[in-house]
């Protein structure tokens, strides 16, 4: 069954591209239902920082080889420390995406045992992909403050 028949509330952006906006406790069953109905490829999990709304948007993207259709499941969580349930029991590759989002945005995923550091090693500062992280100021305060080696 196609996503439009499974979820009547889904909106079709254009042909082959479906967007489902939902709550965070329903994501698990939606992904499970899509997985059982031919949407067997989990493409990626991405995160968007909507700083004016004070929300993080998590987008779970899935693809069906049978229907040639791309489904995006979008949820919004609060920016200040709201955590999300891990979906790694449905697709194991979600674990790595969650690990990256945990590092770059600071979102906590409950049930993911592997939320250790991914690309940044020993990063003591704010997660760098947040909109309130001032990259230029950080670079000026950090890298340009390291003194040059003085030769006598």
């Amino acid at each position: 069954m196609m996503a439009k028949e499974l979820f009547p509330e889904a909106q079709e952006i254009r042909k082959g591209r479906i967007r489902i906006e939902t709550q965070k406790d329903k994501v698990g069953e939606i992904i499970k239902k899509l997985k059982d109905n031919g949407y067997e490829h989990f493409v990626m999990l991405s995160c968007v920082d909507w700083i004016k709304e004070g929300k993080f948007e998590l987008v779970y993207q899935m693809w069906s080889y049978q229907y040639k259709e791309h489904v995006m499941i979008s949820i919004k969580i609060n920016r200040d420390g709201e955590s999300m349930l891990s979906m790694r029991h449905l697709f194991p590759q979600i674990e790595t995406y969650e690990r990256e989002i945990h590092e770059m945005f600071g979102v906590n995923f409950i049930g993911n045992p592997n939320l250790k550091e991914f690309i940044l090693e020993g990063w003591p500062h704010m997660p760098p992909m947040r909109k309130d992280f001032d990259t230029e100021k950080f670079v000026k305060d950090f890298y340009y403050k390291i003194p040059e080696v003085k030769e006598e």
Partner: protein, 182 residues
């Protein structure tokens, strides 16, 4: 022959047999295959790629360095035996290049390890790389390529800068060891 003449002779003999550590970072590594293979053929200078730092003399830092890569670069550099030479490759090693405002790349390589020759450009052409080799030979001949001596002399300053960039002490290498286990 006294010691000074011996070291001069050793420099003249060794400059035509420099082995390059095969450690590629960033996009500069893309310019190395034409330099190493038949088109530009760096072996006619007696240069050759080597996989272990213990047997290498030249370190080409090819492009931008994330802080994570810098840790590995410092480890490799310290494993190389004296005399050793560093060529900074492209504008990223000089002042950060197009990554001047990146939160995760270092801006000036000479703050962390001594650099003998810099090549400007993004990317430098193979001709520029060959030119830097000739410049390095010339410097070795005259005894000007003394970056490795500077590293011994100003070791505390280099270590201080490295620790500032790593945000923790390099002595506590538990992070790197944990990575190796995986």
């Amino acid at each position: 022959m006294n010691h000074e003449n011996w070291s001069k002779l050793a420099r003249i003999m060794s400059k035509r047999s420099l082995w390059m550590i095969h450690f590629c970072t960033g996009c500069g590594a893309m310019e190395m295959p034409p330099v190493m293979t038949s088109r530009y053929d760096m072996e006619r200078f007696g240069m050759h790629a080597m996989a272990t730092p213990r047997q290498a003399d030249v370190f080409l830092v090819t492009g931008y360095l994330a802080v994570k890569t810098l840790k590995r670069v410092v480890q490799v550099y310290e494993q190389m035996r004296d005399p050793k030479y560093v060529i900074g490759f492209g504008s990223c090693t000089i002042n950060g290049g197009m990554y001047w405002d990146s939160y995760n790349t270092i801006k000036d390589l000479s703050k962390y390890i001594p650099v003998d020759v810099y090549i400007a450009g993004c990317m430098p052409r193979p001709e520029a790389i060959m030119d830097s080799f000739l410049k390095l030979f010339d410097m070795i001949d005259k005894g000007e390529a003394i970056g490795w001596q500077k590293y011994h002399k100003y070791y505390d300053q280099y270590k201080r800068n490295q620790r500032m960039a790593f945000s923790y002490r390099l002595d506590e290498v538990k992070d790197i060891k944990e990575d190796d286990k995986e």
